[in-house]
């Protein structure tokens, strides 16, 4: 019955997002030189298959032990064993639509229903032409068992699930994001 205030609506970041949203250390979820760190990189495409050069990709994830240093993690907020682990990454796309973040693989997570969530990154994409962020998830290709049992991934239609599983590329991973059209990435309402 309590009165709830009206939310402030979302608006696009616009074409000049680089002024406000670029951090020099943005792509570094972990510092360079961190044991086990890998680059996750990819391209953001529009509905014509053209790269999107004015987007920001943000990532959020658990640490390798599957923990969050956050008061709403009911298992307790504990600092990560990985030094200077931020959990958060942010990278603007370049003129060829590419972004990248340096991170470590998160651990699996317990789910409130007693199941297990496969290791994943939550990803927000903000861009000119997006009036609100779109949200997707990245899963890891070397976790076929956990991915198969993951409550989010396993609920998706077979032909769309692959859009959320990154591909090995060099020493790291590739995760392209297709905003629209053929091979459109699965996006979530959170």
């Amino acid at each position: 019955m309590t009165t709830r205030l009206g939310l402030t609506p979302s608006q696009t970041v616009g074409p000049f997002l680089h002024i406000g949203l670029v951090w020099p250390d943005g792509p570094f979820v972990v510092p360079e030189g961190t044991a086990g760190a890998m680059w996750i990189a990819g391209t953001v495409y529009d509905g014509d298959g053209q790269p999107v050069p004015d987007a920001v990709v943000e990532t959020w994830q658990a640490d390798p032990d599957g923990r969050f240093h956050h008061p709403d993690d009911p298992r307790g907020a504990i600092p990560s064993a990985v030094a200077d682990f931020r959990g958060f990454g942010r990278c603007e796309t370049d003129e060829s639509g590419r972004y990248r973040v340096l991170t470590v693989k998160p651990g699996a997570l317990p789910s409130p229903d007693g199941g297990t969530e496969a290791p994943h990154l939550n990803i927000s994409v903000l861009a000119r032409g997006l009036l609100n962020r779109v949200v997707t998830r990245l899963f890891f290709p070397d976790e076929p068992e956990l991915n198969r049992a993951d409550p989010v991934l396993s609920a998706l239609p077979d032909d769309r699930r692959a859009t959320l599983v990154a591909e090995p590329e060099g020493e790291g991973l590739r995760f392209d994001i297709r905003l629209q059209g053929d091979g459109e990435t699965v996006f979530f309402e959170v």
């Binding site: 958060f88 409130p112 007693g114 903000l126 996006f187 309402e189 959170v190």
Partner: protein, 243 residues
């Protein structure tokens, strides 16, 4: 099914319908090739969604809240104070959360490589600010009033003057980027970005109010802009059982 074996009681952030603009908003032409066509899939809120980056003092420099003092001289234009509170839906303040802003200068020009319309740059203005909210959720910036600027979306298209705001709250679910507009702007009627928000009352919530109490004599005009983020409800399982 509803038995909890590992006692993971998480806050839940209910979805609020009818506030945010549809991603497919034909009046804003750039949405045409950038909005997903497939329906969004509902993502249950679990640990990754109810947590989020708690960014603190390390992200904020000493003069980041004052966009008029980041260069040798003072920028051109009308000096203003923009302040307000970051709140959750139930009115609770969001404390110690990062607020990022960016804007055009007084002539309506951004300090950005692709902004090259014939309005002057100001060597004393970058147009970027950051601060943390205090323990009552309050933030405050000193800046200059941004100008309107033309864009090519439609014939004789002009963006109403605005300041971009980026907010994190404390959970992934709360992330918000919006734009703050100024009261009485005559350009609202033709702006498809402002008007992409379908609900009239929700649109009004993007407009700051002139605040005479915040206005400082002989110095600067005050504007108040409160920002409301999605708020949590206490217990997840009771509500889910109701459904």
């Amino acid at each position: 099914m509803t038995e909890t074996t590992n006692h993971l009681l998480l806050p839940r952030y209910p979805l609020v319908e009818g506030v945010h603009p549809p991603l497919d908003s034909p009046g804003y032409r750039s949405t045409a090739l950038r909005h997903p066509v497939q329906p969004l899939v509902l993502l249950p809120q679990r640990l990754t969604e109810v947590t989020g980056p708690l960014l603190g003092e390390e992200r904020v420099g000493e003069l980041d809240h004052d966009l008029t003092r980041q260069h040798e001289g003072e920028p051109q234009g009308q000096r203003i104070i923009v302040h307000g509170q970051v709140l959750e839906e139930d009115g609770r303040p969001v404390r110690n959360t990062l607020v990022e802003v960016w804007q055009a200068n007084a002539a309506g020009r951004y300090r950005h490589a692709i902004d090259n319309w014939p309005a002057p740059l100001d060597p004393d203005f970058t147009g970027v600010g950051r601060c943390l909210t205090d323990d009552r959720g309050r933030y405050r910036f000193v800046t200059v009033r941004p100008g309107a600027y033309p864009w090519r979306n439609h014939d004789n298209a002009w963006r109403p003057a605005h300041i971009h705001f980026s907010l994190f709250g404390r959970a992934f679910t709360q992330r918000l980027v919006t734009q703050m507009y100024f009261p009485g702007d005559p350009l609202f009627f033709q702006d498809p970005i402002f008007n992409s928000v379908p609900d009239e009352r929700a649109r009004q919530r993007m407009i700051a109010s002139y605040d005479h109490d915040a206005t400082e004599a002989e110095w600067a005009l005050g504007f108040r802009f409160d920002i409301v983020l999605r708020g949590p409800r206490a217990s997840v399982f009771e509500e889910e059982d109701d459904e």
